[in-house]
């Protein structure tokens, strides 16, 4: 998501599920949508049936998606950047890109400063010692006097981004793609031909990706490459286009929107760091300023940052938040380091905050986990188990007995190197919680649609909903603070908790709070005599959010979901007047019920749609009509750039905010099977290597190709959902057990037979499973060398029905990660393969 | 109770012909000859009972024309179950019967001259060399036996459909039917000849005895053998 935000301004699927039906080409890569998003994939099928769209599947395995694709091409796991850059190069060299679009809607014409360079795998500004880049070397060139960015509309300037990109990707010839990815040249060209057929105004193509791209040490760069490709082809902001991130859970988009990770607050507001000691400093740091005055002005929507932040603080601390106390900014927890997943567990395992300056503070002693199975989700599950065993206490809120809850049981974990139960002192509390069907609330899907769901059944037995468990915990802590006091009592005691039933808050009330309301009468800024919103009324959207404490809003991005008109997430009107599947009266789609983000880019400079049969928004002389415009509704074409969340107002072919390079470059995985064909001295991503090296514990070992020559990947199956459906026997019936997919020739070489046992060993341990010998995995020739790849699904674990237990896939995976999102590299690592014994786990 | 057949028996009150027929056969008692001892008759009727049972339970399965027969047993599902067991019982009884009569059923030189057509004309004089069983009867015996084996073997896969391939069962259905049709025809002939067509025969399977005249007519050699030529 970081890549999409860095490119377009917002980190989410650009278009939407239904919109995929409007595509002419659907590139499914880094995703196995047919298997993992079968219900959403219907729209790709719909495009095929009704528009004759071509589905292109690029995947290391011939998957169920490939089985219905019109074109399939294999590639070696983890080489997607090379493939995508090859497509960009093909589009440029064959002049199959949408030049007019690039000129008006991207930063292609912008000039980059002279410090920028790229040499032998490294961008300018790399600091060897820290492993980080100095990103000022990637900044736009600006007029020293006016500070306005330099722009060459002809895109001929040697330092203009279009030229830099052209030069950057020219190394990715079809021959080079074959050398790196192993994709035979003719198969690559077939894909290139189809995909770049959309590089014009008439046609439009979409990309569907998922964890097959994100879970790499170059995950963000893969997505950056895809976003760049789509901008070059002019496919963003248009119906049937976009870069569509398919979220792996029904509500993961919602979780991310509501501060799913440590570095963000709800609505993607940055978590303040300790050094930003007051609100003013914080806001100055995070609010972008507009610089390009020469070209189109920009709305720079993030200039509203203070409104969002103050309203969030008002929602958090209620009346206690006043102007005088900076709306309670001081009470917000501040970060002092990296608290992403792997770092938390590294701290836990090492018993110290090793990655925070000083490194002497003790690590966590307790851990609360809800709807999350840390042992399963890894990486390096063996380390996860060891880390948990160093805790004093752990609380697990779950509806099943998950692996994490029994990490201490050596009968189950011994086979994977788990410590003896007698040596574990961790006290584990398991709270029976409810499943998704046992509570109300919203799901926010990949398409950013908030859809209310109603409880289907009551939770069984003593199980309680998560909100009740959390509320009871909070109230108990508040009581303790009241009775006994403690550090920073304001932080807890001032927290607003104004639900009708504080013990078990109604989630409708929570949604109202997320939407926000006026705390005082809001006056029209243009005419102060008019009151646009009375005190106590729900806000109509984030346009009404204020920074003077007169509004509160739990998540500005979701604002508009529960207005005076009611809970819009409950809407189920499937009227579709323009036939493009926007369904504006179904649920609520953030932002502002907009169905296609950046839809201004779906029209040309005059505001006419690129393809009149598929308009996103159209300028009718007075205002923009069609979808909810991603633009000031009455701003004539030429007023503002199409990408209102980006300070410069355009889509970024070149994104200076990325941590590992402004343009995507092919790097091998941290556990790399072969040297980097482009620059052998810089084989994996240098920033990713620097991060992986921070994981210094004895449990963090990396394998090398001489000892572990087989490339391995992990994935999911249609029949199961993550780590918990192996508790559901109707699904176990469909996929009864763990297996390892092995190409026929490799199986023959190793004496492994279909249905027999196979054993996989990585630098972190071994697991065994049933061998699935298949033609669907192919031997690929990488730079003249044969490289095999195998894979296995993640769904099993040591808990559940004994007939359906199996090894956790993440016993195999390394503690390598993407340097932007710290997402683990689950999709490419090194192993050896041999014939398995009988009856071993 | 009938009069004693042995001359002078009325005075001596010796064993009656029924007494003799309990455990001996091929014995002349007075005017009668014991043709089938009791155990032979029991096994015959056992076979017959199971046969008829299997027939009546099988025929409604064979064709809905005979569907009404199923009601005699409580429905077609019962027939499906009973038919198999009756078939097994019939087969077992047939095997016992086979050993009872095997020695009498060996073909000899004289049997080669037997003509079924001539026999059915009823007009021609009986071959004086026909023993206890004529060649037609022997043929019937052996054919019933082989048909039993055929129907039994083809019946087993039909009994347990899940344990045998449907290809095999396809063949079995046809052969089971062929066996059944043969049987039906053969049994009609058997009953006809044993009752209406040749009076005096039926009693050989009830009382176990036949008249001297009957024996002389139908089985002259056997008659000579049991009477020592004095008849």
């Amino acid at each position: 998501m970081a890549s999409l935000a860095a490119t377009f301004g917002r980190g989410a699927m650009t278009n939407g599920w239904v919109d995929i039906k409007n595509a002419d080409v659907v590139l499914v890569m880094g995703s196995n949508a047919a298997e993992n998003h079968p219900c959403g994939f219907k729209w790709a099928i719909e495009a095929k049936k009704t528009r004759g769209a071509k589905i292109v599947s690029v995947d290391p395995r011939f998957t169920r998606t490939s089985s219905v694709a019109d074109v399939y091409a294999p590639l070696r796991p983890g080489t997607d950047v090379a493939f995508l850059n090859g497509l960009i190069n093909y589009a440029i060299t064959k002049n199959r890109f949408h030049e007019e679009y690039v000129r008006i809607h991207t930063n292609g014409p912008y000039v980059i400063n002279e410090k920028y360079g790229f040499n032998d795998g490294l961008f300018a500004g790399f600091d060897e010692s820290s492993g980080n880049y100095d990103k000022s070397a990637w900044a736009y060139d600006a007029d020293p006097k006016t500070k306005a960015y330099l722009v060459d509309k002809e895109m001929k300037h040697p330092r203009c981004i279009f030229q830099l990109l052209k030069k950057h990707v020219e190394r990715y010839t079809p021959e080079m793609v074959e050398r790196i990815c192993g994709t035979p040249k003719d198969e690559f060209l077939k894909v290139a031909e189809v995909v770049t057929s959309t590089g014009n105004a008439q046609r439009c193509g979409t990309i569907m990706y998922a964890l097959g791209w994100t879970q790499h040490s170059v995950g963000c760069q893969i997505i950056r490459a895809a976003a760049t490709l789509q901008l070059m082809l002019g496919n963003v902001g248009r119906p049937g286009g976009g870069v569509n991130a398919l979220r792996g859970h029904s509500n993961i988009q919602g979780a991310t929107d509501m501060a799913g990770t440590f570095e963000i607050l709800p609505g993607y507001l940055a978590t303040p760091r300790g050094e930003l000691t007051d609100l003013k400093t914080y806001l100055e740091k995070v609010t972008p300023t507009t610089l390009n005055k020469e070209t189109w002005a920009t709305m720079n929507y993030w200039s509203n940052y203070p409104k969002f932040m103050v309203s969030l603080l008002k929602a958090t601390y209620g009346k206690a938040a006043t102007k005088e106390n900076q709306w309670g900014y001081d009470w917000l927890p501040k970060t002092d380091g990296n608290y992403s997943w792997m770092f938390i567990f590294d701290d836990m395992y090492r018993g110290a905050k090793a990655n925070v300056a000083g490194g002497t503070e003790p690590g966590p002693e307790g851990f609360i986990t809800f709807g999350m199975n840390p042992v399963g989700i890894g990486p390096n599950s063996g380390k996860m188990i060891q880390a948990l065993s160093k805790l004093k206490w752990m609380v697990v809120g779950e509806n099943y007995e998950i692996e994490t809850a029994t990490f201490w049981d050596d009968k189950k974990t011994k086979a994977y190197g788990g410590p003896p139960s007698s040596q574990i002192q961790t006290e584990v509390f398991q709270l029976p919680c409810s499943g998704f069907a046992e509570k109300d609330g919203t799901f926010t899907n990949s398409a950013r649609w908030l859809q209310w769901k109603w409880k289907a059944i009551d939770p069984p037995g003593q199980a309680k909903t998560d909100q009740e468990v959390i509320a009871r915990l909070l109230l108990a802590v508040k009581d303790l603070y009241k009775k006994e006091g403690g550090p920073v009592p304001e932080q807890v005691l001032n927290m607003s908790w104004s639900y009708t039933n504080p013990v078990n808050p109604d989630l409708g009330e929570a949604l109202k709070e997320i939407n926000g309301k006026a705390l005082e009468d809001l006056k029209d800024p243009k005419d102060p005599s008019k009151i646009i919103r009375k005190a106590g009324e729900q806000l109509a959207g984030f346009g009404e959010v204020r920074d003077d404490g007169t509004t509160m809003c739990g998540n500005w991005l979701h604002s508009g979901c529960y207005t005076e008109a009611g809970n819009l997430a409950q809407r189920r009107n499937n009227a579709d007047p323009n036939g493009l599947g926007m369904f504006h009266q179904w649920g609520f789609s953030w932002p502002a019920n907009r169905r296609i983000m950046y839809n201004r880019a779906g029209a040309d400079a005059e505001g006419k749609p690129w393809d009149p049969t598929r308009p996103s928004i159209v300028w009718n002389g007075e205002k923009w009509v069609g979808d909810v415009p991603d633009m000031k509704p009455d701003a004539p074409p030429g007023t503002y750039g199409a990408f209102i969340m980006n300070a410069e107002g355009v889509g970024r072919l070149f994104a200076p905010s990325m941590n590992d390079g402004p343009m995507a470059e092919h790097y091998e995985a941290v556990e790399s099977a072969v040297p980097n064909a482009l620059h052998p001295k810089v084989t994996p991503s240098p920033t990713a290597v620097a991060l992986a090296k921070k994981m210094k514990s004895d449990k963090d070992v990396l394998g090398t190709a001489d000892k572990f020559p087989v490339v391995c990947t992990t994935y999911r199956l249609t029949e199961h959902y993550h780590y918990w459906t192996h508790h559901t026997n109707i699904l176990n019936q469909l996929q009864p057990g763990f297996f390892i997919e092995i190409p026929e020739e490799l199986a023959k070489e190793k004496g492994i037979v279909n249905g027999g046992r196979a054993k996989v060993t990585s630098a972190r341990g071994s697991i065994e499973g049933v061998a699935m010998v298949t033609k669907r995995l192919r031997k690929l020739a990488i730079d003249g060398k044969q490289v095999w790849h195998i894979g296995f699904p993640i769904h099993w674990g040591y808990e559940g029905d004994p007939r359906h237990t199996g090894p956790l896939a993440n016993f195999m995976t390394p503690s390598a990660m993407d340097p932007n999102t710290w997402t683990p590299e689950f999709k490419t690592f090194l192993v050896t393969l041999e014939k398995g014994g009988e009856g071993v786990a | 109770m009938s009069e004693l057949g042995i001359p002078g028996a009325s005075q001596r009150r010796g064993p009656t012909v029924m007494d003799v027929a309990r455990d001996r056969e091929d014995v002349v008692v007075g005017d009668e000859i014991v043709r089938h001892k009791l155990s032979s008759r029991i096994i015959h009727w056992t076979v017959a009972l199971f046969f008829v049972g299997a027939l009546l339970t099988g025929m409604p399965i064979w064709s809905p024309v005979f569907g009404w027969m199923a009601y005699l047993f409580g429905g077609l599902s019962v027939c499906r179950w009973l038919h198999a067991w009756l078939g097994v019982a019939f087969s077992a009884a047939t095997v016992v019967m086979f050993f009872f009569w095997l020695s009498d059923m060996r073909f000899d030189e004289n049997d080669k001259k037997f003509s079924f057509i001539d026999y059915l004309k009823f007009s021609a004089a009986e071959d004086p060399n026909v023993g206890k069983y004529n060649a037609g009867q022997k043929l019937f015996f052996w054919s019933i036996l082989f048909a039993m084996l055929l129907v039994l073997l083809t019946g087993i896969p039909l009994w347990w459909p899940k344990s045998f391939s449907w290809r095999l069962r396809q063949v079995c259905i046809v052969l089971h039917d062929v066996g059944f049709i043969y049987w039906f025809v053969a049994i009609v002939g058997h009953i006809y000849l044993g009752t209406a067509a040749e009076p005096g025969t039926f009693r050989s399977m009830t009382r176990g005895t036949v008249t001297r005249a009957w024996a002389r007519l139908h089985h002259p050699k056997w008659f000579r053998d049991v009477t020592g030529g004095r008849g």
């Binding site: 079968p38 | 064979w62 809905p64």
Partner: protein
């Protein structure tokens, strides 16, 4: 579930006379399966099992994505997964939903000896009535698609009913309802054939020259029609190339039965005729008897 009461029956197994009123004319319904866009998600498998309330099958991983080797008495809908080399450079992973094909000329019904155990409704659906099924297993040899399966208890035949209980009340079958991609459709057969023809045309334009709708004439057509990319190789999908009611069933029902009846009648009438012409054969033992006889 038994045969649906009051639902017009076209044909009934082992019936001496027709079973329906023939008052109602209903269009033949059909299930449409487009294998070219089936993603093998198995939603249909689960929907079938849940709607029909069938107990789970104990399966184990044997090296395939396919749920189990073939249909089971409590598993009526199975996606078959086949890896096929389609040519020198061609490879396909062919996924096909396997279930009862609901033949217009059902071999199972022809082979069934139990009156009313297998019925064909006026709309073409072929259904089993377990109350009348005698568990003889004769329908299996009658089926060219290897569909009938038998329950552990009493060998009752069980198979897809095309959700006749749903169809009767105007709903689509459960599998169709669950299908996320629309590769399954339900409706009257003629319109689905038209849809199939349209899709075949699209596939042919995409280079699959031999694409076809599988609706085998050997069994009079089926109420499950299947769009195949490789229409010239139905066997790649696990479908028989030119299925018909097996010859043994025809031999049995159409040849052996008449012969049997003739033979049985001939035996009985032969005996009676013979008696009138020749019999009885009685001993002419004494002159007195002889005199009486003559």
């Amino acid at each position: 579930m038994g045969a649906i009461q009051g639902f017009e029956i076209r044909r009934s197994s082992a019936a001496l006379r027709g079973g329906g009123t023939m008052l109602r004319q209903q269009p033949t319904v059909a299930k449409y399966i487009d294998t070219s866009i089936c993603i093998g998600c198995k939603a249909c498998e689960v929907a079938c099992q849940e709607w029909n309330d069938l107990p789970l099958v104990k399966t184990e991983q044997v090296g395939t994505y396919q749920t189990m080797p073939s249909l089971a008495p409590n598993f009526w809908n199975l996606i078959q997964f086949r890896e096929i080399d389609t040519g020198p450079h061609g490879f396909a992973w062919l996924l096909r939903k396997d279930q009862c094909m609901h033949c217009a000329d059902p071999g199972c019904l022809a082979a069934c000896p139990a009156p009313g155990a297998i019925v064909q409704y006026q709309n073409g659906i072929v259904d089993v009535d377990p109350e009348k099924c005698i568990g003889c297993g004769l329908c299996e040899p009658g089926c060219p698609f290897d569909v009938p399966r038998y329950t552990a208890r009493d060998n009752k035949m069980a198979k897809c009913t095309l959700c006749v209980d749903r169809v009767t009340v105007g709903l689509e079958p459960a599998c169709i309802k669950a299908c996320p991609t629309g590769c399954l459709q339900f409706g009257d057969k003629s319109s689905l054939l038209a849809l199939g023809a349209h899709r075949v045309k699209q596939l042919q334009d995409d280079g699959f020259a031999s694409a076809a709708v599988y609706d085998p004439p050997g069994v009079g057509g089926t109420s499950v029609i299947t769009v195949l990319k490789h229409g010239d190789h139905p066997e790649w999908y696990g479908l028989p190339k030119d299925p018909s009611v097996p010859t043994t069933v025809s031999l049995w029902k159409r040849v052996l039965h008449p012969i049997g009846f003739v033979a049985m009648a001939a035996a009985i009438f032969g005996a009676i005729g013979h008696f009138m012409a020749f019999g009885p054969k009685k001993p002419v033992d004494t002159a007195k008897d002889a005199g009486k006889e003559v």
